[in-house]
Every structure is written in C-alpha cells, then in structure tokens.
C-alpha cells in the first residue's frame, strides 16, 4: 500500500507546486527598469572617494599631508598642495585617483586626519577609455586652482 501512498503524496506535492507558481503569477513584478527607475542605494554603499564640503568653510579641509597617498595599497592616489602663507598650513590643490585600480578598501578615508574624505554614491561610471577611470576630486568639488 505504501506505493499508492507515495503516488498520492507525490501527486499532491505537484498540485502544491502549481499552487505556489500560480500565486506568483499575480504578485507584483520586482524587476526595476534600470535607466527609467533606480534602486535606492544602501546607506553603506561605497562609490569612489570624494571630498567632504564643510559648511563653515564652504570647501574641503585637505592639507595635502599625503597619508592617503602612502596608505593606498594600490598606489592610485596623487595629491599635491601648496603653502599659501609662510606660517600657514599647506592646502591641497590637486587630487587625482585612478578608480580603475581601486579596491574600495577605504584605508584613505580612515587615515585622513581632517576627515575630509568620504565615499561618493556614484555608480554610473561607464567610459570608453581607461583614462575615463581617472577622477579629479578637486574638479568634482567645483574647485580648480592652477
């Protein structure tokens, strides 16, 4: 008799499966039509790094100390600064990263003494040449100095 029991149980499991798929038929679609709709990013999303714009100064606080440049395991950060006044601080003037080699480890963000680096929320980074992966952080901030 166990044979027929198996047949009935198996048959019922098939009906159960059909029920599951039928219910899915009228459930809302979960696909996001990407260029027209976009998913909300997770707060932990890491894009390439960018400068924090501080409210009180209206600009970044980069002092061109070069710690991020030295800390970077892929060696893809290039930062330069100048001393504007004799006894003043150094100020960062040029900051380039080669994002094509970045592994988003975040060591630069962690090591920054003035907390002026953060992860951007950029993810549409298509390009036609490898140089499109090079990002000018000063230009992104809207700050261009000679």
């Amino acid at each position: 008799m166990s044979y027929w029991k198996e047949v009935i149980n198996g048959g019922w499991s098939l009906v159960e499966g059909m029920r599951v798929t039928f219910r899915r038929l009228y459930r809302p679609v979960v696909t996001v039509q990407y260029p027209r709709q976009k998913v909300e990013l997770s707060p932990a999303y890491r894009g390439h790094i960018e400068f924090v714009k501080f409210k009180e100064t209206g600009t970044h606080k980069c002092v061109a100390c070069g710690q991020c440049q030295r800390m970077c395991p892929s060696n893809l950060i290039k930062v330069q600064g100048i001393k504007e006044r004799a006894k003043g601080r150094k100020v960062g003037t040029q900051y380039f990263i080669d994002f094509t080699r970045c592994s988003l480890c975040g060591l630069c963000v962690e090591v920054c003494p003035t907390k002026t680096l953060k992860f951007s929320r950029e993810y549409e980074l298509e390009g036609v040449s490898r140089w499109d992966g090079v990002i000018d952080l000063m230009a992104r901030l809207g700050e261009t100095r000679p």
Partner: protein
C-alpha cells in the same frame, strides 16, 4: 455533382489557407504568452519593449530569424537536413483539417478524424529523428534518440485514453464526440483518462518537464542544435502549433469542445468556448513547464511504462466493463 466536388475543393483550399495563417499567428502569440507567463511566475515583467505589452516582440524575433543565414554543416546528410523542418511542420497542419472549432466550422468532418490526427502526429517523431540524425552531431543524435524513445513510450497511454473516450461514443468522428458531451463533459466521466491524456500530451509535444530531447543543460539544444535561421524557426513553429493541436484535441475529447459547461451555452458562440478552453489548456501546459524541473530519462521511461500504461489500461478495461453492463 460536379458542383459539389468543386465546393469541397474550395472549402479545402480556403481551410488550408486559414489554417496556415492561423498556425503562424498562433505560434507568434503563444511564444509571447509563454514568455509573459514565465516572466510573471518568476516575478519579472517579460517582454514589454516592442509594441504594446511587448506583443510585437515575437514578430521582431521572427523577422530576425528570416533574415539569418541557413547554415548546413558540411558533414550533414544534406537532403534529410533540409527536408526535416518541412517534415515536422507539414503533419502539424494536417491536424487543423479535422479539428471541430464549432458545429459548422470543421474543414473536413472525417469519420476517422481522431485516428487521422494521431496518425499524423506520429510523423513528427520521424522528422525529429531525421533532423537529429542528418545533423551528424552527437548532441543532435542523442536528442533524436531520446525523442523517439519518449514518443513511443507516451503514445501508448495517449492512445489508450483516447480509446476509452472512443468506446463511450462509439465513433472516431470529432463532431460526434463533441456532440455526446452536450450535457456533461467527459473529463467528469473519465477524470483519470483526462489527466493521463494531458500528461502524455505534454510529453508528446516535448514540453517541460518532459523536454529531455532538447535538454539544454546536457544536450545543447537537442535535435535542432545544428539548425539556424528559419529552419530552426520551423521547428519552433511546429512545437507551438503542436501545443495548440494537442490542447484542441483535449478540448474536444474531454472538455466538451464547443459546448459550455453542463449544457449552459449562455448564447456564446461555440468557437469562443472552444478557443477559451484550448487556450486555457495551453496556459496550463505553460504553467506546468515553469513549475516543475525536468525529469531524468530513466524516470521518464519508468513513469510511462510502469505507471501510465498500466493505469490507462485498467481505465480502458473498467470503461469497457461498465459500458457492457450499463
């Protein structure tokens, strides 16, 4: 007399043209429907870009197929290779000759209609074998061999269940079988036969979960691996037309053809009832495809020889005994 013969010819030609046009349109629609059903079962929208609701997607695909080069492998058996897609599509069209769409809408109401449709559906096995063998490709050959074994195994329960219906009506004429279901559909009198018919029909049309002849995870694409362009398109067309025929036969044998349920026709023309039921059955076949995984080959054969054939034989026997003493 001469006039009557002439009108019969006109009826045949008009019917054949309508059948051809309908078969192509039906296949276009069914491919779209299949993709939509598959999409929504997997919580995707399915095709939606080309035309309203993606309805023109299959037309675009068909145009692409027509535009493609017809490649014949150099090691192939060329004559068979070319003839196989035609061979698979032709018998499918014959089925439309005897399908009872409505009381007055049968191209030719033959007294052996049921036999004709099943005799010609066996042809598709031959075409698959020819296509698979002539491709000279091991995957194609394996697919063809599997298809033959499967079709031989599932034709027996299919015909046995049809036999039990034929026993009840005492006729092989489709219109008489449908007429006999005016008050109660045969699915209620023969539920086992109906179920077995649907299962074997799914296997006959090589649809999942019985699609091992074209199991893409093992055999690339099975018997049509080497086919390209519209030759592949013809195989595809034949599969979907076959689905329609199988469902239409199920409708007329078990689901009352052009009749409404329990004799309530509700002033709806017969053709509408017939199409509604046929497309519902097609939907069920698609629904099954996107629910169950493909079964293994030995399981497939076991299921047919050890379960379906004994059960359908017993069903036939019970039908005969009951009819004798009723």
């Amino acid at each position: 007399m001469g006039n009557e013969v002439g009108s019969e010819w006109i009826r045949l030609i008009v019917g054949a043209v309508i059948a051809l046009a309908f078969a192509s349109l039906n296949a276009l629609f069914l491919v779209w429907l299949e993709r939509k059903v598959a999409g929504h079962i997997q919580l995707r929208p399915g095709p939606k870009e080309v035309g309203p609701f993606g309805l023109l997607q299959t037309i675009a695909d068909a145009l692409k197929l027509v535009g493609k080069e017809l490649i014949t492998p150099s090691a192939a058996d060329k004559k068979l290779f070319v003839i196989a897609p035609v061979l698979i599509f032709m018998p499918v069209l014959v089925g439309f000759l005897v399908l009872p769409f409505a009381p007055e809408l049968i191209i030719r109401d033959m007294n052996l209609g049921v036999l004709l449709i099943f005799a010609f559906s066996t042809f598709s096995v031959l075409a698959i074998l020819a296509g698979g063998w002539s491709s000279n490709n091991k995957y194609a050959l394996l697919g063809a061999i599997r298809s033959v074994a499967q079709n031989v195994a599932y034709e027996i329960p299919l015909l046995l269940t049809v036999m039990s219906v034929v026993l009840m009506v005492n006729s092989l004429r489709f219109s008489e079988i449908v007429q006999a279901q005016g008050h109660i559909w045969f699915i209620f009198l023969q539920p086992v036969a109906g179920l077995i018919y649907l299962i074997s029909a799914t296997a006959e049309t090589n649809r999942a979960p019985f699609d091992i002849p074209e199991a893409e995870s093992e055999l690339v694409a099975g018997f049509h691996t080497e086919y390209s362009g519209m030759r592949f398109g013809l195989f595809f067309l034949a599969e979907y037309t076959n689905m329609f025929i199988v469902s239409a036969v199920a409708t007329s044998l078990f689901f009352g053809g052009w009749h409404g349920p329990f004799g309530f026709d509700m002033k709806i023309p017969g053709i509408v009832w017939f199409m509604l039921k046929t497309y519902f059955l097609i939907f069920v076949i698609m629904w099954v495809r996107w629910t169950f995984p493909r079964i293994r080959f030995d399981q497939l054969m076991n299921f047919s020889w050890k379960f379906m054939i004994p059960v359908s034989l017993a069903n036939l026997l019970v039908t005969a005994v009951v009819l004798k003493f009723i």
